[in-house]
């Protein structure tokens, strides 16, 4: 399938083509949206194990004596208190409290961090770090996105599947912790994180080894999955997508991400705006809803309440797991209570829906 010349390709591009992946542009990259069937791929992750190429996401090495102070200034949670081997989900907010990106930060050692921003925001994040890097002689920022690859292995069988090919047993690695080990002899970092609502790991490894590891995992029974299944799964798990469900025009409190923000820290760049947002409350709130009438909500559709346009759908689609059509969207805080009856304008027809609690789906923890 022809793709535009200016799209970047991950180290797994040829593997996706060989496996029948259907390629679409995403965040400046040529990525597989599906291989065989989005719904089958989503079910494979819920019931067994699936693989996602997430190499398009940025990988920034931030090192040096000034690394922890710099990250603490720009991240919504402090980095100084992180123990080596830990990972944290956090936000990068501007001075108005708007969300530039959401990302995961990993601390490998005292002066060695890895930051993983979204593909489309990697440049903005690098610029933002540079802007607040007041002691550049104590911090080095290296973009290692191209020389590495990142594969997410997700699903109830992800850990047994990985354990077949890793040197160390990864069963004891707690969520949001990492381990450095070998996969089929290749040095890799494995993080107990993901974006599907299932148990799983994300593996960072040298770009040139990615295709071989992907093949090996497929041989172990993992299903190749595309961005389509990833979007279905993250929506079911109530996980937000930057650019859809949050942006520089929303703050973390509006997005319901309160627990990932600690604004009251000296030197934090978004401190003033976020303290104000926290203390004054918010006008709009992100809610989850499910359709009670027939129809599929989609990004950009209007949300109505008794004939009045009150908001907009930011993500929506079918949930194969719940056998229902679900969505996320912003409404005035007064309409955000669970059970509120709303309607979605589906191409000119108002279809009934109901505000529900998030996440839509939460796996039973062992």
């Amino acid at each position: 399938m022809p793709t535009s010349d200016n799209l970047r390709q991950t180290a797994l591009y040829d593997t996706h083509i060989a496996l029948g992946g259907r390629i679409v542009p995403f965040g400046g990259w040529a990525m597989p949206i599906q291989y065989d069937s989005i719904l089958r791929e989503a079910r494979a992750v819920r019931s067994n194990v699936g693989l996602f190429d997430v190499s398009h996401m940025g990988r920034l090495k931030i090192q040096g004596a000034g690394a922890a102070p710099l990250l603490s200034r720009v991240l919504s949670l402090g980095a100084k208190s992180m123990r080596p081997g830990r990972a944290r989900y956090c936000l990068i907010c501007n001075q108005d409290g708007g969300i530039i990106d959401d990302c995961i930060v990993y601390r490998n050692s005292e002066e060695d961090f890895l930051l993983v921003p979204n593909a489309a925001n990697t440049v903005a994040v690098i610029d933002w770090l540079a802007r607040w890097n007041t002691k550049p002689n104590t911090v080095s920022i290296n973009n290692i996105t191209t020389e590495t690859a990142m594969i997410a292995i997700q699903g109830p069988q992800s850990i047994p599947t990985l354990n077949e090919i890793t040197t160390d047993d990864i069963s004891s690695v707690l969520p949001f912790n990492t381990i450095r080990t070998r996969i089929d002899g290749i040095d890799a970092m494995l993080a107990h994180t993901g974006y599907t609502g299932e148990d799983g790991f994300e593996v960072i490894l040298p770009a040139e080894d990615a295709a071989g590891v992907w093949r090996l995992l497929v041989e172990q029974g993992a299903a190749s999955c595309g961005l389509g299944a990833r979007d279905v799964l993250r929506l079911e798990a109530g996980l937000l997508l930057h650019g859809n469900d949050m942006s520089v025009d929303t703050n973390p409190y509006e997005a319901g991400l309160d627990r990932f923000v600690r604004p009251d820290r000296r030197g934090y760049v978004a401190r003033e705006a976020l303290l104000r947002a926290r203390d004054n409350g918010v006008q709009k709130k992100l809610v989850g809803f499910f359709m009670t009438g027939r129809g599929i909500p989609r990004h950009g559709y209007a949300i109505h309440h008794y004939g009045r346009n009150i908001g907009e759908v930011t993500s929506g689609g079918p949930s194969p797991l719940l056998d229902s059509n679900i969505g996320l969207g912003y409404v005035p805080a007064d309409y955000s209570a669970v059970g509120t009856h709303i309607q979605i304008d589906i191409r000119g027809r108002l279809i009934d829906a109901e505000v529900t609690s998030l996440p839509f789906y939460s796996r039973r923890k062992k």
């Binding site: 389509g228 979007d231 689609g317 079918p318 059509n325």
Partner: protein, 128 residues
């Protein structure tokens, strides 16, 4: 795969004229495959008047919404309610269990505006 006794439109719908003169409509395997998993179908109401090559409904996959066009003019005599409840039938069996509506033809001569099987195959090859 694509049955050769049917007539085809450029919008990838098929028409099969039954012995009683009623036309059965659906979308082709190519269309179903291109859409991906079909998760929602909106069909015209019983008795609705369809016009050839005009919109008659909507079909949605996980990621996208597409219009359904009628390859013929006529009156909707029957709807395939089973694809409302089980849209995956459109993927699993586009020419059979995944049919969409039965239509009483307004003008059988319109069928000449459609492609034969070999003409449709040529169109697919030209597009691939």
């Amino acid at each position: 795969m694509t049955p050769d006794a049917l007539k085809y439109s450029e919008e990838h719908e098929w028409v099969r004229v039954e012995p009683d003169g009623v036309a059965v409509l659906g979308i082709t395997d190519f269309a179903a495959e291109s859409l991906g998993d079909v998760v929602f179908v909106e069909l015209p109401e019983l008795g609705a008047e369809l016009t050839q090559f005009e919109k008659m409904g909507e079909i949605e996959s996980v990621k996208a919404v597409s219009d359904l066009y009628s390859p013929v003019s006529g009156t909707v005599a029957e709807r395939n309610e089973s694809i409302i409840d089980s849209p995956e039938l459109v993927n699993d069996s586009p020419f059979d269990a995944g049919w969409m509506v039965r239509v009483t033809l307004a003008d059988a001569a319109e069928l000449d505006n459609l492609m034969t099987h070999s003409e449709y195959q040529a169109l697919l090859e030209a597009q691939s």
